[in-house]
Symmetry: C2
Subunit: 345 residues, 2 copies
């Protein structure tokens, strides 16, 4: 599978998450599949086959009253990674595209950036120089794009950006570059009593402004990376002011910690696409009882992207090996999905 | 109003929270009031009067479709403090009683504790010496009672303790020393589309094992103080191991931070009883639109306790002054509540 350009390699996942750990947008139409009704297929964008069958079989097992694997509604927790699992993450995380655009938007008020790294690299479109600035550089970009405003102010910035930003390849808003089969899966699980959560390495406040409209997932069911905030009064109004300091990185071993902190129950099912999701899938599935783990494998260079073990963003290597051992379902986008995005024919 | 014994003063709120920041019980019957039905009083344990009326009026305002103050269901977030707001906190926080009992239970396996502070103080029932051990002492007690086991293991310890522990004055399980009028209020709000959350200085994992049964509040709607945990594999099973290190103190300015981290929306209504709830009530109510703040004032020494400005646990001083300024409802337990506990006649 193809990997990312070498100049992006300096932007490690940890570095990016540091920058991404961070934002709140009211954009994008809510596209939920119709709830499962007698006789209608709740997963119409999934091709028939072992992958689709594994999902339906699991849901049937845990929802069959009186069956040996029945699970009460209050324990039906499903956790979903976001980048690469619910929406695209190539050629770079969308939150990184936000950072780059935001630096450009703020440049006129900061004339010194023209000659100062890492800002110069962003303004020149010099990704090699940007990568060379490393974690320190990205933290500087994070500080000026993700901190220094209230949580509510940041939500407005994110919403405004998502309303106008377009993916270069697909020429569509990012919130339309979500996976139609996964939207159907979210709706199918909810129709069967599951509470659906996002558990993402992305910034919790970058996701919350739009996840309800786009995925039907409300803010209180979004777990993500975060920066610190400070409670303060501004003109007699209490606000949370965003600080340029990492609070929590919700990736790898951070995902089970984030799940425990926010949800307080072990998920019954977990969905991811990269090594960043390995521990979440382990935590959800390796503890006895009926459990379900699923990885989205990006195998469709034509309709989306094809990448796995050597990709910089969304590297899928150890988790792919673990899937075979632990009998997690692996979705091949190319063969298992009839369509990729809601707007596709 | 009476204050606590002087020997408890060394146990500051911060010190206690450090120790309390920490714990998971399946106990106590779920006692929810019947949902509001045509013609039946949803708040039968509340005496008629301005206090009760303020609650009913607020709920009516925000739920009247087409009215000027109507609030959509997804924005009806209500946050409740726990200690002193939903259950008793005198003569000491219940989580502190847990710590003391737990040290006694573990003493036979730790013979050295007989001569070593702060353990000796606990075993001798010497509260003065315990208070003298200060934050350092309490952190040591916290380490041996709240850390060194998995989250699931801790939940079992808490549940087992709550199943047998009894309050000395009322001779009842602590989970029966919850306030019947507040149980009715929780159910009334939920019947009107509110999502109810606990936002407490107490340990998040000390509360989660029992809040669903006792209050109808599921684990994912509990926000509290926490210690750090470590993801690890034990015999091939992924667990979270509890470490003797504070992660987050969900008190005072921590409450708005905890609300933002876990809920991601500004509450429409907030309920507390002490200065630890001041910032939460400010955050919820001082931001325009229809909002509701309420403080429980412990004024009933006969049926429960009477304390406020000088109390060590649950000090209510600044927040009481703020209530007058901000028009928060102040409940007098003595005059506003017909009964205190569910088991009362």
């Amino acid at each position: 599978m193809s990997s990312n350009p070498s100049y992006l390699r300096g932007l490690s996942r940890r570095v990016l998450l540091s920058a991404l750990a961070v934002a709140p947008a009211l954009i994008g139409p809510l596209r939920s599949a119709p709830a499962s009704a007698q006789g209608t297929d709740p997963l119409p964008s999934w091709n028939d086959g072992a992958t689709k069958q594994s999902i339906v079989t699991f849901v049937s097992r845990v929802t069959t009253q009186g069956g040996p694997d029945f699970v009460p509604v209050d324990q039906r927790i499903a956790t979903f990674d976001n980048d690469g699992t619910l929406w695209i993450e190539q050629p770079m995380y969308i939150q990184l595209a936000f950072i780059l655009d935001r630096v450009k938007a703020l440049a006129p008020q900061n004339p010194g950036w023209k000659t100062k790294q890492p800002f110069k690299a962003v303004l020149d479109g010099d990704m090699k120089a940007l990568a060379a600035s490393g974690e320190k550089g990205l933290m500087q970009l994070m500080a000026v794009t993700h901190a220094g405003m209230t949580s509510e102010g940041f939500a407005k910035i994110v919403s405004a950006w998502l309303a106008t930003a377009r993916d270069h390849r697909f020429k569509r808003p990012y919130t339309e570059l979500v996976y139609q089969p996964m939207l159907e899966l979210l709706a199918y699980l909810r129709a069967n009593g599951f509470k659906t959560f996002i558990v993402s390495g992305g910034g919790i406040e970058f996701m919350r402004p739009w996840t309800e409209k786009v995925y039907g997932i409300p803010p209180e069911q979004v777990v993500g990376s975060s920066i610190k905030t400070r409670f303060e009064m501004q003109d007699g109004r209490p606000v949370l002011f965003r600080l340029p300091e990492i609070n929590f990185i919700d990736d790898k071993v951070g995902k089970p910690l984030g799940i425990n902190a926010h949800i307080g129950r072990r998920p019954l099912a977990a969905f991811g696409n990269s090594d960043g999701d390995l521990e979440m899938l382990q935590y959800a599935t390796l503890s006895g009882g009926p459990r379900f783990g699923l990885l989205v494998h990006h195998t469709d260079a034509e309709r989306e992207y094809a990448y796995d073990r050597k990709s910089h963003f969304g590297k899928l290597d150890k988790a792919l090996d673990a899937a075979a051992v632990n009998k997690w379902t692996v979705v091949s986008m190319k063969t298992d999905w009839k369509k990729i995005f809601p707007g596709d024919a």
